[in-house]
């Protein structure tokens, strides 16, 4: 799905627009360029839990079908 690291930035931007991530710029200690730090929000955590539930259900279904195929 992600072809290069660069495509990660639009993805992060989208998650932030959806309110699933929050970000802050911070000065780096070593005198380098400022860095952007991302953190998951409560909404993001809910979305993650929903997806995890959904994914587990999907995985179980596929596992069941594959198990039937082998027997």
């Amino acid at each position: 799905m992600v072809t290069g690291e660069g495509t990660l930035y639009p993805l992060l931007s989208r998650l932030q627009k959806d309110g699933r991530l929050a970000s802050t710029w911070r000065e780096s200690d070593a005198g380098g360029p400022p860095r952007k730090y991302y953190a998951i929000t409560a909404k993001g955590r809910r979305a993650l839990e929903e997806f995890t539930t959904e994914w587990t259900r999907f995985q179980d279904t596929v596992d069941t079908i594959l198990a039937k195929g082998t027997t």
């Binding site: 690291e5 660069g6 639009p10 989208r14 380098g32 360029p33 860095r35």
Partner: protein, 184 residues
Amino acid sequence: MNTTLHPLADDYLRRLDQAAWSLPGPDRAELLAEIRGHLQAGLTPESTDADVRNLLDELGAPEDIIAAAQATTDSAATTGIPHPTAPAAESPWGAMEILAVLGLTVGTFVVPVIGPVVGLVLAWASDRWTHREKWVATILTVLPVIVLVLGALSLVTVRSGGSDQPQPVEQHAPVVVTETGAPS
């Protein structure tokens, strides 16, 4: 924007900026700042051309990044930003629909029977109207006809039933209609 990195990295950022013309202004600026930050963090003054090329390869082609950002902007409909073409596609009024309504209304008077029938055919052929809307159009067209026919029937029945005929004759009311309707 002002600080220069390695020439290869600067060239990459220039290509990215050119490819990003289709993005909304703030998105474009933010994306460029982030990629620039990524490059700045990954490069040192000692970085060789090979280091820079490796870093740029890992980032991916500028066009791919813009395509990903574009997909994000396009799917922004879910976050409340309307897609420019979405309302037009959802409009229930195309040429066929307007003709259908004209056939069902004006057509009734200009070309009786044929007008409404053409209107109904057009209405049912429409891919913009829902099944429910098509039924509403059909019922609205057919209902007045049914009411008129029933009204005429009841008038005829009252007229013929008004004489001293007993009830069994009323069951043959439609037959009576055709008999009295034919000469007039």
